[in-house]
């Protein structure tokens, strides 16, 4: 297993190099590239700008610039965020915990809801419940996440109010009430809408997927054997059916990591959630190319790692699969 992990990680390096070259070229080849943020602020004259370009090495040929950038990155130096004058690594570490909290809660909620729905609609295939779930999953898969977020805001912040206090039923955004002391209920209150927005689509995808996967496994011979042994239906479905049906779900979740980041970006923008997605959005608005580059690379690394992890989990869950 360890050998497999090392081989896959080594194998991923050329992939990540390719991604970094492509993004680097994209950002630097465009006219008015990395110094755009300074130029737009108009705080620099032409001579200062030229000096800055010299200092940042922007007059070197592109491959040399890329080499220098790569040299710094492998030493853990992601550079400075041009607009905030703070190290990129610090900016990101400030935001990452918020994104991870949001994703983890949404992900947990998704599994808690999607797994029972998926199992139940497979066991009761073509029942009223199953038809209703099928319809709802189509809706969940088709609703544009950013529009869903806006509608949630419209209904729960702008229209509905708390009958006792007369305040909006849900906060408009942020992780906590400004200036208030830490309180868990306040945090949860602030998580409800963003998590709903993020999880709705996933619940649809995963319950649909699990249903199909369950339908496949519960007609297998080993499930019939388990039933013939006289096991209770509950054990047959959960231990013999679900455990095998869940294996492809693991792969699906790993392949979905890029979409996780996409969803988180919209959620963070709409609900003023101070995470990585919002940082990226702000960096794009300020044209802070160093920050943009760093976030894209970190995201790519996370996507690659998630894929490797999925392969390993897959082999661990299903002993029939050999890692080679």
């Amino acid at each position: 297993m360890a050998a497999f992990a090392i081989r896959r990680i080594v194998g991923a390096i050329p992939l990540l190099l390719f991604v970094s070259v492509a993004v680097f070229a994209l950002l630097h080849a465009a006219p008015g590239g990395p110094t755009g943020a300074y130029m737009r602020r108009g705080s620099m004259n032409a001579a200062d700008l030229a000096a800055l370009e010299q200092k940042l090495g922007l007059n070197d040929p592109l491959p040399v610039q890329y080499g220098k950038w790569l040299g710094r990155v492998v030493q853990g130096d992601l550079g400075m965020a041009v607009t905030t004058k703070r190290p990129v690594a610090v900016e990101i570490m400030d935001r990452l915990p918020h994104t991870l909290t949001l994703m983890a809660v949404a992900w947990g909620a998704t599994l808690l809801i999607a797994i029972p729905i998926g199992i139940f609609s497979a066991v009761r295939q073509y029942s009223k419940f199953d038809h209703a779930v099928t319809m709802l999953t189509f809706i969940g898969q088709s609703i544009p996440i950013f529009w869903f977020g806006l509608i949630l805001l419209l209904v729960f912040y702008m229209r509905l109010e708390n009958p006792i206090t007369g305040e909006p039923l849900m906060p408009a955004g942020g992780v906590a009430t400004m200036g208030a002391p830490f309180s868990l209920t306040d945090r949860i209150h602030h998580l409800l809408l963003p998590v709903t927005m993020l999880a709705a689509g996933w619940v649809a995808w995963y319950s649909r997927f699990l249903r199909a996967s369950m339908l496949e496994t519960i007609h297998q011979d080993y499930v019939r054997t388990a039933r013939a042994k006289g096991l209770s239906e509950r054990l047959v479905i959960l231990r013999h059916g679900f455990r095998n049906a869940a294996i492809p779900l693991v792969t699906l979740m790993a392949l979905d990591v890029p979409f996780l980041f996409t969803g988180a970006l919209f959620t963070e923008v709409i609900f003023a959630w101070p995470g990585m997605g919002r940082l990226f959005y702000a960096a794009a608005e300020r044209r802070d190319y160093g920050l943009l580059m760093a976030i894209i690379m970190i995201t790519s690394v996370l996507i690659v790692l998630a894929n490797i992890l999925a392969d390993m989990l897959y082999a661990w869950l299903d002993p029939r699969i050999r890692l080679s």
């Binding site: 994209l26 755009g36 189509f138 509608i151 980041f261 794009a284």
Partner: protein
Amino acid sequence: MLDLVVRRFMRHKLAVAGLVVLAVLILSAILAPVITMDPDALSVSERKQGPSLWHPFGTDEAGRDIFARTLHGGRISLTIGLAATLVALAIGTALGAAAGYFGGVLDALLMRLTDAFLCFPQLFVLIVLGTLINATALRFLQGSIVPIAVVIGVLSWMGLARLVRATFLSLKEKEFVEAARAAGGSNARIMLRHVLPGAVGPIVVQASLLVAASIITESGLSYLGYGVQPPTATWGNLLRDAQPHMQQLPVFAIAPGLMIFLTVISINFVGDGLRDALDPYGRR
């Protein structure tokens, strides 16, 4: 064969309903210039009005008719969805076919390329391209929908390539391919005439879902301000315009999103129907 596919498709009620809704949506986009007023006409005296007979969805902060802008937005959004899918279809089919048919080093290289494209966080890259187009000498591309369609296509061919490759891998060993080769068929001819038709079913299903995905991507990007730029309306940038006025003009925020939703769910139903209808092992 076609007869069978049509019969099986018609049995899928939701797919038929989806097809009807889709037809209405496409028709409304095509006829938008005829059935609505000018989507860009400003009217200072009619700013931020609620729905009325004259303005079914009301007017925005510049007094433009939201109904007209929504239908015209559909022209752009649907076109980009289709164009992006065609780009992805061309790249995905070509690379997948080459990888599956020729195998060996070429296959390994093309599959690594596919893996690399799969690690791009698509939306992030699109936003970066959007900033470049908005802020640099590429600004001349700003009003055009071509770069967005092309870039979305270039970032979404990977699933198709894997699918086509898998079909080519299994079909190229079949006897009919050997027979075609023995009869002196060139590689290009065998690929196009003998193997590709076997992959059409899954390709059609995947492509239909890709149209829906591209429409969502485009509208999301335009919603964030990095897609099609105003005054050209698309469903995405209409939502962006609507957001500050949601309180007074809820219809403005609901209508464009509902259009995206209806389009995407119809396409998903049609895709589901096609999957059943084109399944070679399905019921007759």
